[in-house]
C-alpha cells in the first residue's frame, strides 16, 4: 500500500502519468518457440485495445481499363482497395499487405483499426503477389521484382488517392507494410524520392526480409523438410491435421474456429515443432502456387498451363492445381522469373537478380533516409543468421527489435501496436 502511494506521489512530482509507468512493464510474449510465435494466435489478454469496427469504404480501381481479363478469372473486374477514414483532416497511412494477403486480411484489419484509433486515414493495398493484384494491376505478370512491384504499387496508390481525394482531407502521407509488404515499402519510398508525389513523412518496415530470395527459399524448405515424403504426401499430412482437430474436438467436447479455442487446444495438445514449421511451409506454398498460376495465365500460359489454350469459367483446374502446388518458388524463380527479366535486359544474371532483390541493394538509401524505421523480431523465421544484426547496424536507433514474436506473430500485441502508433507520431525511431 505504501509503495503504491509513493509511486503515485513520485509520478505526480515528476509529471509522469501512470500510463507511462505501465508502458515500462517488460515486453512479454507467450510463445518462445519462433514457429509457435508465428503460427499461434495471440491470446486476447495481450491484444492491443482497438475498436471493433471502423468506418471503411471499399472501392474498385480499373488500373488498366483496356485489359481483357481471361474468362477463367470471371470473378475479377478491378482491384479492390479499402479506405478507413477520419471525419476531419488527418494524415494518411498506406499499408501494403504481406505475401498472398489481401487489403482486408486479418493482419491488415488490425493495423487499420490501430491506426484509425490513433487518428489516421488508412489506405490498404493488396499484395502484388496476390492473384487479385496480378490479374488487375500488375504490369509485368511476374511478381517478386521489388523495383517493378514498387512501380505497380505506386501507380495503384496514385489512382487510389485520386479516387478518394474529394471525400477526405489529407494532411500528409505515411507508408508501412509487413513481411514482403515491408521490404516493398522501402522500395516504394525510394521511388517516391524521385517522383515526389507523396513525399512520405514516416515509413515503417514491419518484419521485412533482408534478401527476398533467401527468405522465400527458407519458407519453401519448411515444407520440404517437415512433411515426410514431401509434397506428394501432402494428403496424409492433411489427414493428420484434420484428425488432430477432430481429436481435440472429441476431448474438449466442442469445436469452434476462434483464437481462444485454438489456444486452449494448444495448451492441451502442444503441437510438435515440425508440425508448426510444416504449417508455415504449406501456407507459403499455397500462396505461391496461387501466384504462379495467376501469373502464368495472365501471360498467356506456357509455364504450368498450356500456351494459347482457352480456359473458360467451366475449365477444370484440378490438374493445374496439382502442378502449381508442386512448383516451388525456386522453380518459379529459375524457370519463369529469371528468363523473363533476362529477356528484357540480357546483362542480368541469376546471382545478380538475387542480390538486386534485397535491402543490401539500397543500403546507402536506408542508412541516410531518417524517415524510415524498422520493426522486427529477433526470432523471425524468415531471417538468416546474422541478418538481424545487419538490420540493426543499418537502421541504428531507428530499429526496434522485439526478442520474440516470430514472423509477424506479435503484430497485434499491445506493445507492438503502441510502438507503431508512436512511430508515426514521431515519438519513436
Amino acid at each position: 500500500m505504501r509503495v503504491w502511494l509513493i509511486n503515485i506521489t513520485v509520478c505526480l512530482f515528476l509529471g509522469l502519468s501512470t500510463v507511462a509507468l505501465a508502458a515500462d512493464k517488460p515486453y512479454f510474449y507467450p510463445y518462445v518457440n519462433p514457429y509457435e510465435a508465428t503460427v499461434m494466435e495471440l491470446p486476447p489478454y495481450y491484444h492491443a485495445a482497438i475498436p471493433e469496427t471502423v468506418p471503411t469504404k471499399t472501392f474498385k480501381l480499373k488500373v488498366f481499363p483496356e485489359r481483357i481479363i481471361p474468362e477463367v478469372f470471371w470473378y475479377e473486374n478491378g482491384l479492390d482497395c479499402s479506405l478507413v477514414f477520419q471525419k476531419g483532416k488527418a494524415p494518411l497511412v498506406f499499408v501494403i499487405a504481406g505475401t498472398g494477403a489481401r487489403h482486408n486480411s486479418p493482419k491488415m484489419l488490425n493495423l487499420q483499426k490501430a491506426l484509425y484509433q490513433a487518428g489516421y486515414h488508412v489506405l490498404s493495398i493488396t499484395s502484388p503477389t496476390h492473384m487479385h493484384f496480378i490479374v488487375n494491376a500488375s504490369s509485368t505478370f511476374t511478381p517478386g521484382h521489388l523495383y517493378e512491384d514498387a512501380k505497380d504499387i505506386y501507380r495503384v496508390m496514385q489512382m487510389a488517392i485520386d479516387e478518394v481525394k474529394n471525400d477526405i482531407e489529407i494532411s500528409g502521407y505515411h507508408l508501412t507494410g509487413y513481411s514482403l509488404g515491408g521490404i516493398q515499402s522501402a522500395f516504394v519510398a525510394m521511388l517516391d524520392e524521385e517522383k515526389k508525389f507523396f513525399d512520405f513523412k514516416r515509413v515503417l518496415l514491419i518484419n521485412p526480409p533482408v534478401n527476398l530470395y533467401n527468405s522465400v527459399t527458407r519458407l519453401d524448405r519448411l515444407l520440404v523438410e517437415n512433411i515426410p515424403g514431401g509434397i506428394n504426401n501432402l494428403d496424409s499430412w492433411l489427414d493428420t491435421v484434420m484428425n488432430r482437430l477432430a481429436e481435440a474436438e472429441k476431448e474438449m467436447g466442442y469445436f469452434e474456429l476462434s483464437g481462444e479455442y485454438i489456444y486452449k487446444a494448444y495448451k492441451r495438445f502442444p503441437p510438435r515443432e515440425d508440425f508448426l514449421a510444416s504449417l508455415i511451409g504449406v501456407s507459403f506454398r499455397t500462396d505461391s502456387s496461387n501466384m504462379i498460376f495467376a501469373a502464368d495465365v495472365m501471360k498467356g500460359g506456357g509455364y504450368i498451363t498450356p500456351k494459347n489454350a482457352g480456359m473458360s469459367n467451366s475449365t477444370a483446374l484440378t490438374p493445374f492445381y496439382l502442378v502449381a502446388s508442386r512448383t516451388s518458388f525456386d522453380d518459379y524463380f529459375r524457370n519463369h522469373f529469371v528468363p523473363f527479366y533476362k529477356n528484357r535486359d540480357p546483362s542480368l544474371t541469376e546471382e545478380g537478380l538475387i542480390e538486386m532483390l534485397s535491402l543490401h541493394q539500397i543500403e546507402p538509401y536506408l542508412r541516410s533516409a531518417r524517415k524510415i524505421g524498422l520493426l522486427h523480431n529477433e526470432d523471425d523465421v524468415i531471417l538468416q543468421p546474422g541478418e538481424i544484426d545487419y538490420l540493426q547496424d543499418v537502421f541504428g536507433g531507428r530499429a526496434k527489435v522485439f526478442p520474440t514474436g516470430g514472423h509477424c506473430g506479435n503484430m497485434n500485441h499491445q506493445d507492438v501496436v503502441e510502438f507503431i502508433v508512436k512511430f508515426f507520431a514521431g515519438q519513436e525511431g
Binding site: 477463367v72 478469372f73 470471371w74 470473378y75 498472398g100 494477403a101 489481401r102 496476390h130 492473384m131 487479385h132 506428394n232 501432402l234 494428403d235 492433411l238 489427414d239 484434420m242 484428425n243 477432430a246 474436438e249 472429441k250 467436447g253 466442442y254 499455397t286 502456387s289 496461387n290 498460376f293 495467376a294 502464368d296 495465365v297 500460359g301 506456357g302 509455364y303 504450368i304 498451363t305 498450356p306 500456351k307 494459347n308 489454350a309 482457352g310 480456359m311 473458360s312 469459367n313 467451366s314 475449365t315 477444370a316 483446374l317 484440378t318 490438374p319 493445374f320 492445381y321 496439382l322 502442378v323 502449381a324 508442386r326 512448383t327 522453380d331 524457370n335
Partner: protein, 254 residues
Amino acid sequence: MLETPSIRYAMLTVLLSVFMVSGCSTLPKTEPETQPPMHEFTEVVPQDKEFAVQVYDPLEGFNRGVYRFNYYFDKYLFLPVVRTYQFILPDYAENRVSNFIDNVYEFNNFTNNLLQLKFKQTGITLARFAINTTVGIAGLWDPATSWGLYRQTEDFGQTLGHYGVGHGPYLVLPVLGPSNLRDTTGLVGDTLAFNNLGPPYWVDDDDVTLAFTVVTAIDKRKRVPFRYYGSGSPFEYEQIRMLYTKKRELEIDK
C-alpha cells in the same frame, strides 16, 4: 406438406442436374497453336496416385455453373439481405434467434442419433431439447451447453455414411453450396422427416413454417463467414470440394 420451399428446392436441384449435365466441357479449348506447358501435369504429378483434391466430380461443368450462380446470388441478394437483417436486429437478438433455430433443429439430431443407435448422444439431445425449451425459454437461450451438454449434430447424410453409403458424385447445390449425392439425399430425407413429423407438423401453420424457413436461411448464412473468392485462390472450387469431402468423412467417423 410437399409444398414447402425447401422440398421444391431439392427436387428442382435434382431435375436441373439431370438436364444440365451435358452442358459444358471442362477441358481447356485447344487451338492449332496450343502448346503444352513447360511443367506438364503428366510429368510433374505421379499418375499412379489418387490425391485428395481429385474428388469424384463427373458433373463438374454443371457444378461450376452453379458455383458461379451462387457467387452472384450471394453477392447481389443473399448477403445484402443478411446485412439488412444484421442492421435491423441487435446482436443480442440475433443470438437468441440462432439459439431458437438450433433448438428447433434438435429434431434432426435426435432422429439421426437414434437411427445410428447412438443412445448416449440421443439422450443428450433429448435432455438439451428439454432443458433449453424450458429453462432456456423456448430455446432462446442455451443453458444446456454451459452445463456440459454439447450439441450432438447428426444429419441423414451422416446416417447414410454411418451405414456405409459412399459420397457419390460431388454436387454444388444452388444457394446451399457444396454437397454430394449422398448428402443431398440426406438433405431431402431430413427435410421430409422434419416437415412431416417434426416441428412444422406440430405447429401446422404454413405461414409460420415459411417464415421460419426464411429466417433459418438468413441465420445460417450469417453464421458462415465464407465469402466467394475471399480465399484469394484461383483453385477455390477445388479447395472447397476437397475440404467439404474431408469434413464430411470426419463427421461420419466421429
